[in-house]
């Protein structure tokens, strides 16, 4: 029992389960998944589908945060990528042509990678604090997206493009499959190679990493680039889902959600130890929260208060210090030690 609750992912997972159960109480059919119109249909599928972009961005963000950085520009990259892809497609004579869509997608992702590279270079080469370095792109990038769309919505009518964010493959939403593949690849890259350890070393102690000969700069640039590419894919999904590029609003404030997902998943913002599985759980928790708000009919003006309460509860329940202080208040029990109390990281079984 102890080992189960001690696992780093136990609490985020528990929170997710509790939230789903709470939904079932309010909306009895919440967990039911049926096949309708040749694809899976149900609230759970919605959560996965709408959660897919957030999962992707959060995965990218995890890498950046592991190096001790942060990326505020993901929302802007989401907007740019979707805008560019839709702009290209809308300009084609045959919007349904697969090669045309592939070119558009390729260009959008290429541009995203360039933007990530830019962020990475500002941080690793120019030595600008990550929050400011990426703030520049956060502000300017939204402008670039609007420049591409001229501030309007660009509609596309392209079945192949629609597949990315709104289509289904073998009854499963394509976006979910994409997210799953990216997560799996990232997981492999991080734990089957030495990438994860080296990123954690950089985030844990930058000077020691330098003295040990880690190519910190390259890895940092890599992390930002990967993050931006993830955001780019998410941008494609979001615009594809509604067949519209909205340069003004796509991805707005998504950076906050992504960071929140990472942190709920159990990765510290100070860098170092990270967990991708936790991040995925965190993103699902956030998406479930939104869906819960919509389905249970929380009045719009109290939505934020509701969110605040849930986020606070989630974090408190995850905090070992809180549990120790509140739940195990035996008389004379030692308060947790204030300095080096082993965080969840210490008992982690590596994902």
């Amino acid at each position: 029992m102890k080992t189960v609750t001690g696992h780093r992912l136990f609490w985020p997972a528990a929170v997710l389960v509790v939230m789903l159960l709470a939904n079932v109480v309010v909306t009895p059919g919440f967990l039911s998944v049926q096949v309708r119109g040749g694809h899976l249909y149900g609230s759970l599928i919605d959560i996965l589908l709408f959660g897919a972009p957030l999962i992707l961005i959060s995965i990218g963000m995890t890498g950046v945060i592991a190096t001790g950085g942060i990326d505020l520009s993901v929302g802007a990259v989401v907007a740019i990528s979707g805008a560019l892809a839709c702009y290209m497609i809308s300009g084609q004579d045959d919007q349904g042509s697969v090669p045309g869509v592939l070119v558009a997608v390729g260009l959008a992702l290429g541009l995203s990678a360039v933007l990530g590279l830019w962020n990475g270079l500002l941080v690793a080469r120019a030595g600008i604090q990550p929050i400011i370095a990426t703030l520049i792109l956060m502000v300017a990038g939204r402008g670039v997206a609007q420049l591409i769309t001229s501030g309007k919505n660009i509609n596309v009518n392209s079945p192949p493009y629609k597949l990315i964010g709104g289509g289904y493959l073998l009854t499963v939403p394509f976006a979910v499959l994409v997210a799953a593949v990216v997560v799996a690849l990232a997981g492999l890259a991080v734990r089957r190679t030495a990438l994860g350890m080296l990123l954690e070393a950089i985030g844990g102690n930058a000077e020691a990493s330098r003295l040990v000969g880690i190519r910190s700069r390259r890895l940092i640039v890599l992390a930002y680039t990967f993050c931006a590419v993830c955001a780019g894919i998410a941008g494609l999904m979001i615009s594809s889902n509604i067949s519209t590029a909205d340069g003004n609003n796509a991805g707005l404030w998504m950076e906050l959600d992504a960071i929140l997902a990472v942190v709920i998943g159990g990765t510290a913002l100070t860098g170092g130890r990270f967990t991708l599985a936790g991040t995925v759980l965190g993103a699902l928790v956030i998406q479930t929260l939104s869906t819960t708000i919509y389905t249970t009919g929380v009045p719009p003006q109290t939505t934020l208060v509701f969110k605040a309460v849930v986020v606070t509860a989630v974090c408190l329940i995850q905090s070992p210090a809180f549990r120790a202080k509140v739940f195990r208040r035996r008389p004379g029990a030692p308060p947790p030690d204030p300095v080096a109390s082993p965080g969840p990281a210490d008992v982690e079984v590596r994902a």
Binding site: I136, A140, L256, V305, L316, K325
Partner: protein, 329 residues
């Protein structure tokens, strides 16, 4: 006896140099603006910078405390909106006297700061999350109090909002500027001449060491959030003076502006290093960029954003090139 060379005090002075470089760049940017747009170069434009950004300045000063301890406070904008909303609501709907409302509002701000600080310190919740929850809560409460905007008709407020203190040369300023400057002075004094202030730096430098050195880390850390909450609430009140109204949509995104101002001012997000005077320069820079673009006046919405980003980049790169290189580079 051994002779211990040290890496001398150069670094400290370098820190000052960084602030001076920022100041220099700001002046340069201002001069460039005045050459491009003659009306830009007037003293009133400078004063307007303070008038228009007074509330941001106060909020950013509070943020400086938190960032110096190595934390972050995302709730500032929402708390400001909430305190403006509380002001408006209590004054207009319940007709409470100003003398009660203002202290109460400041108290609420400090209380929210305390609650977040408490949770962060005692339950070891990351500042980002705790204050994000605080942001949701404060903004949510705004809407719970009133979805509609509330106009403040209270004579005290309207009086203050329109008071202009004349200065020589056909210039004038508002009392809010004086309040902001007073807060600045108090913050400077606190950070450099009180134990609490030095503790803020110590905790940011190394919280565990500070604890082992016997500093009251709990009090300092929570105190920083209380200061930030208090400043946000005061910022909200200034905002209410500025707009004589309250809305749940006020001051959205102010937290990012405040953080940006603090960091541009040379404070390290990892804590322990920075000056509140730098924060002032950061606020001024953000304001100057906006003002420049207003004078430019032909950019479309998106070119405005791109220009803001580009000017920010230019400034920061110059700052890096001219200023000190940080240790460990």
């Amino acid at each position: 006896m051994t002779v211990l060379g040290t890496r001398t005090g150069v670094r400290i002075r370098r820190d000052h140099v960084a602030v001076l470089v920022t100041l220099g760049l700001l002046v340069a940017m201002f001069t460039a603006g005045s050459i491009a747009y003659p009306a830009f170069g007037s003293g009133q434009v400078v004063i307007d910078l303070f008038i228009d950004n007074g509330f941001l300045l106060v909020i950013a000063i509070g943020m400086t405390f938190v960032i110096l301890t190595g934390g972050i406070d995302l709730s500032v904008g929402a708390v400001a909106a909430l305190s403006a909303m509380l002001c408006a609501f209590l004054l207009e709907r319940w007709h409470w006297p100003v003398a009660v409302v203002l202290p109460l509002v400041l108290l609420v701000g400090a209380g929210i700061g305390f609650a977040m600080g408490y949770v962060i310190h005692h339950f070891e919740i990351q500042p980002f999350i705790a204050t994000l929850a605080g942001m949701f809560l404060a903004r949510g409460l705004c809407f719970v109090i009133s979805v509609n905007q509330i106009s403040i008709k209270n004579p005290f407020f309207t009086e203050w909002a329109q008071t202009r203190i004349p200065l020589p040369g056909d210039m004038n300023l508002t009392p809010t500027v004086l309040i902001a400057l007073a807060v600045l002075a108090a913050a400077f004094w606190t950070l450099h001449y009180t134990r609490f202030g030095r503790g803020v730096y110590a905790v940011g430098g190394n919280a565990q060491s500070a604890l082992l050195m016997g500093l009251p880390v709990t009090r300092i850390r929570i105190g920083a959030y209380v200061v930030s909450g208090l400043c946000s609430a005061l910022g909200g009140v200034l905002f209410a003076f500025y707009t004589i109204s309250a809305s749940g949509l006020h001051a959205v995104g102010t937290e990012l502006d405040a953080i940006a101002a603090v960091v541009i001012g040379g404070t390290l997000l990892t804590g322990g290093s920075g000056y509140v005077l730098g924060t002032v320069l950061g606020v001024m820079l953000l304001g100057t960029i906006q003002t420049l673009l207003r004078f430019q006046g032909t950019l479309s919405s998106w070119w405005t954003r791109i220009a803001i980003g580009a000017l920010l980049l230019l400034f920061i790169v110059l700052q890096r090139l001219l200023g000190s290189s940080r240790p460990g580079r």
